[in-house]
């Protein structure tokens, strides 16, 4: 689609701004060709592009186990799950592109480390139980984050989230079912589940981002309707949902401060290690270098395929 840009005078600019504010205030959606403040556009590009990168990099920890799945059933499930994550990345890249950024530039910014992805994917997957823990806890945390984003103020982002959320429920359930199956197995298998949950619980809590007091962007994002709940609200929701699930599963969550608080009608819980989180964001997590190197290699190894497809298309068009 081609956009025709006409220079704006000051009066028109004020009109556009008030029209934008009114649309947000009405809880209506902003669409790609609407005028929007530059800060809104850039915040969305950062959030959507890095959300897309997270989905794409997120294929690696689980993809690690596809060739070693314990049964054909588990292998088919894991393949479908990982393919869904690729799909999520693609929905989100198309949403980001509607804001005037090119797909290839986004890929460049990911593999050069200028844009980030969620630190949760920098943790290694050490056993098949991790496939279950990731589905249950990591996709579970993603669901808590993504459900409110279905009502985000930017139309294409919200629509992508609706598609994503429909698929996430399968991700979480297959993970939980995998863990329940292992819990019905041997002592070794039960120990493997507990060990895996111990490693993923705190990183899952970090997925909601730093505490509200340390999240200076949240207020603006909420005023723009990009974000609908604060980090701490979503984290609380996730903890409240997870505790009974852990009990039903028969695992212990590795937090000595975890306890029901009658007054608040919520669980109290401890804080994750935010220094560890910041190290991950800065690129010093356990698998950062490996994840980026793998993504870069896949992109570079695919260069001849892209060139060949382009050459074929040109030849067909001129034939």
């Amino acid at each position: 689609m081609t956009l025709t840009e006409t220079p704006l005078d000051a009066g028109t600019q004020a009109d556009l701004e008030s029209h934008f504010e009114a649309t947000i205030a009405r809880n209506d959606r902003i669409e790609p060709r609407d005028w929007m403040p530059d800060g809104y556009r850039r915040t969305l590009v950062r959030q959507i592009a890095q959300h897309a990168h997270s989905e794409i990099i997120g294929m690696q920890p689980e993809g690690n186990w596809i060739s070693r799945a314990p049964s054909l059933r588990r292998k088919a499930i894991l393949l479908a799950k990982v393919q869904d994550e690729a799909g999520h990345g693609l929905y989100l890249y198309s949403a980001a592109e509607t804001l005037g950024v090119s797909r290839l530039e986004l890929t460049e910014m990911l593999i050069s480390g200028r844009q980030k992805y969620s630190s949760i994917f920098n943790y290694p997957t050490l056993s098949y139980a991790d496939v279950g823990s990731i589905g249950w806890l990591v996709d579970g945390a993603a669901i808590c984050n993504q459900v409110p984003l279905c009502r985000t103020s930017f139309g294409p982002y919200g629509r992508a989230m609706i598609r994503v959320c429909k698929e996430e429920s399968f991700h979480q359930r297959q993970g939980y079912e995998l863990l329940t199956t292992m819990m019905r197995g041997t002592d070794e298998q039960r120990a493997m589940v507990q060990e895996s949950v111990d490693r993923f619980w705190w990183p899952a809590l970090m997925m909601f981002g730093p505490p509200d007091a340390d999240s200076p962007n949240t207020a603006q994002s909420m005023a723009w309707g990009i974000k609908r709940n604060t980090n701490d609200e979503l984290r609380q929701k996730f903890v409240d949902m997870s505790v009974p699930q852990a009990e039903a599963l028969g695992v212990t969550l590795p937090d000595p401060d975890l306890a029901w608080n009658d007054e608040r009608a919520h669980y109290d819980f401890g804080q994750p290690d935010w220094d560890e989180f910041m190290q991950g964001v800065k690129g010093n997590g356990p698998c950062n270098a490996q994840r980026l190197a793998h993504r870069r290699r896949a992109h570079e190894d695919g260069a001849w395929v892209r060139a060949a497809a382009t050459a074929f298309a040109t030849k067909e068009a001129t034939a």
Binding site: A49, H51, A80, Y91, K116, S118, V138, M206, G209
Partner: protein, 120 residues
């Protein structure tokens, strides 16, 4: 927590200090963008579901199947090169849609019909 704060869908990502790449040209020529329309089932219109890049029409169809119909979401797909679409501005204040704004007589509720008249 330094100048990094984090927001995000599939796990927190920093928003401060991250380049956006807006107005930066693509590093190599990009495959054209296609808009994808899916007919969910017989009897329904094709509906826009998203977009994708492909080298040609055939590849666009195959990619559309893989990206947008992994769970029987459709019985038919259209792909259209985005640069072939002519669009109005979606802005509701657009003069394009003004002619329909003041024509209330085009709606059935404009007409008063006595209560005792059935089936109308």
């Amino acid at each position: 927590m330094s100048n990094l704060s984090a927001e995000g869908g599939h796990g927190a990502v920093p928003l401060a200090g991250v380049p956006t790449g807006v107005d930066v040209p693509a590093p190599e020529p990009e495959w054209p963008l296609y808009e994808v329309f899916v007919r969910g089932k017989r009897g329904l219109n094709h509906v826009h579901v998203g977009s994708l890049h492909a080298a040609d029409d055939r590849m666009a169809l195959l990619h559309a199947r893989d990206v947008y119909t992994r769970r029987n979401e459709g019985v038919s797909i259209w792909v259209v090169r985005a640069d072939a679409i002519t669009a109005s501005s979606p802005d509701e204040k657009d003069p394009m849609f003004a002619p329909s704004g003041d024509k209330v007589y085009r709606h059935p509720t404009f007409y008063d019909i006595p209560d005792n008249v059935p089936h109308i």
